[in-house]
């Protein structure tokens, strides 16, 4: 029932309020004496070199793409796990085929070196 989720909405509102109040308390009670040096980007005491956001390794994108593939697989696995006893052995065979198809892609990514980090 949708009304089962209303208590969670109450909790979310309260939790968000607590988080903002914590930040507000810090703002109210903490001293604020900013100087140019203080509000500069921190780099172990050295003067910052170059911009803060720079190009990142392509591996992070590969991991993200692989994650999406497998996360969708897991989303399919969840309802399947709930009704496993009703769909019986046929359901298991279908799921094994589905996982095997994904595993082919996984092995391909593995052999191509998508999982290696230098």
């Amino acid at each position: 029932m949708p009304s089962d989720y209303l208590p969670i909405a109450v909790l979310i509102v309260l939790a968000t309020a607590v988080a903002f109040i914590a930040i507000l308390i810090g703002h109210l009670f903490g001293p604020r004496r900013p100087t140019v040096k203080k509000s500069d980007t921190y780099e172990s005491g050295m003067r910052p070199i170059g911009p803060g956001t720079r190009r990142m390794s392509v591996h992070f994108y590969l991991v993200a793409v692989l994650f999406i593939l497998f996360d969708i697989e897991i989303i399919f696995l969840l309802p399947w796990a709930v009704v496993l006893r009703e769909i019986k052995i046929l359901g298991l065979i279908e799921m094994v085929i589905f996982v095997l198809v994904l595993l082919v892609g996984f092995v391909y990514a593995w052999k191509k070196g998508a999982l290696e980090w230098e």
Binding site: V10, G26, P31, T41, G52, D71, L92
Partner: protein, 331 residues
């Protein structure tokens, strides 16, 4: 809408938030004391008896600290990031059944929702946003690199974590966490799912970026990762999120694998239920601290290789074998 119902939800929500806040404060003390004992030190023991007032002293110190917001940062996102990180840690506890009904009164806030396990996974994923936003909004190379590393690590281990949760769903035939706990009355699922529990626990340690998987926060090379630019209460919120998540993963592990609130005599005295759950959570928390004190940090390439090449195939194997055995014995 019934005003008393709203009041009941508000009180339960406040209790859950207090569990996380109080748990966070005393978990830091517990960790420092336990770590110190493992390293044959004494740990904080000056503020109050056994150092019990130490967390309060720490909180007061953090409140009166100067907060720096870097000139080049994205200010709105910079302030929002700790909120986005800490709220999921606080609201995850809503679906955990805290105990059996006491005199017909339900203790949990929303433990009866029929997609409880899905809720856990969905909310746990939101915390990743907070970390990547913090890394990006700081406009600092170390923070960005730490945030990216944390994101890659968390999404990698989230797969194994989610697959490990499929085992209990299959055994209990439901995603409703209250029913999963009821189904564990005779036999805890750790006995039927030993590999599943091991995968869950390892993946959960990686999910909260704890040692030995604390590469994103490596003090020696990244100076603290995504929260390097944060100070004062905003830093405290990140800290609270990390320790809150530690508490929550122990609650989830105890609920789905260690029988939740079940223990001897819970049928006769339902009040024992929450106490058993608390004891189980504290034991799991000790294991987390023990792991941190024992293992050195893993190199980042090995960390990712371990997650993708060992944990993920093992978790898939666990799911398929469990399904086959379930069908063989009952189908």
């Amino acid at each position: 809408m019934d005003i008393f119902l709203l009041l009941e939800w508000t009180i339960k929500s406040v209790v859950i938030i207090l569990i996380i806040l109080g748990g966070f404060a005393y978990l830091t003390l517990y960790e420092r004391r336990a770590n110190a004992r493992i390293q044959t030190r004494i740990g904080p023991n000056r503020a109050g008896p056994w150092g019990l007032l130490q967390p309060i002293a720490d909180a007061i110190k953090l409140i009166f600290k100067e907060e720096l917001i870097p000139e080049k940062s994205d200010k709105v996102l910079f302030i929002l990031a700790p909120v986005i990180t800490v709220v999921p840690a606080m609201i995850l506890l809503a679906v955990i059944p805290m105990g059996p009904d006491i005199l017909g009164f339900k203790i949990g806030l929303a433990d009866g929702i029929n997609v409880g396990v899905l809720y856990i996974m969905a909310v746990a994923s939101i915390a990743v946003y907070g970390i990547v936003i913090a890394g990006w909004a700081s406009n600092n190379k170390y923070a960005l690199l730490g945030g990216l590393r944390a994101t890659a690590q968390m999404v990698s281990y989230e797969l194994s974590l989610a697959l490990a949760l499929v085992g209990p769903i299959m055994l209990a035939n439901t995603m409703n966490i209250r029913e999963i706990v009821v189904a564990q009355k005779g036999l805890w699922y750790i006995i039927l799912q030993p590999l599943g529990f091991l995968i869950y626990f390892i993946a959960a340690v990686a999910e909260v970026n704890r040692a030995p998987f604390d590469m994103p926060e490596a003090e020696q090379e990244l100076i603290a990762g995504y929260h390097v630019e944060y100070s004062g209460m905003k830093f405290a919120l990140f800290f609270m999120a990390e320790y809150g998540k530690m508490i929550v993963i122990c609650f989830i592990g105890a609920t789905l694998f260690l029988g939740g609130y079940w223990g001897p005599f819970v049928d006769q005295v339902p009040l024992l239920g929450p106490i058993y759950l608390f004891v189980k959570v504290v034991i799991l928390l000790f294991v987390l601290i023990w792991i941190r004190a024992t293992f050195p940090r893993i190199r980042y390439d090995r960390l990712m290789a371990f997650g993708w090449k060992i944990m993920l195939p093992a978790a898939l194997f666990n799911v398929v074998v469990t399904a086959a055995i379930v069908l063989l014995l009952e189908g």
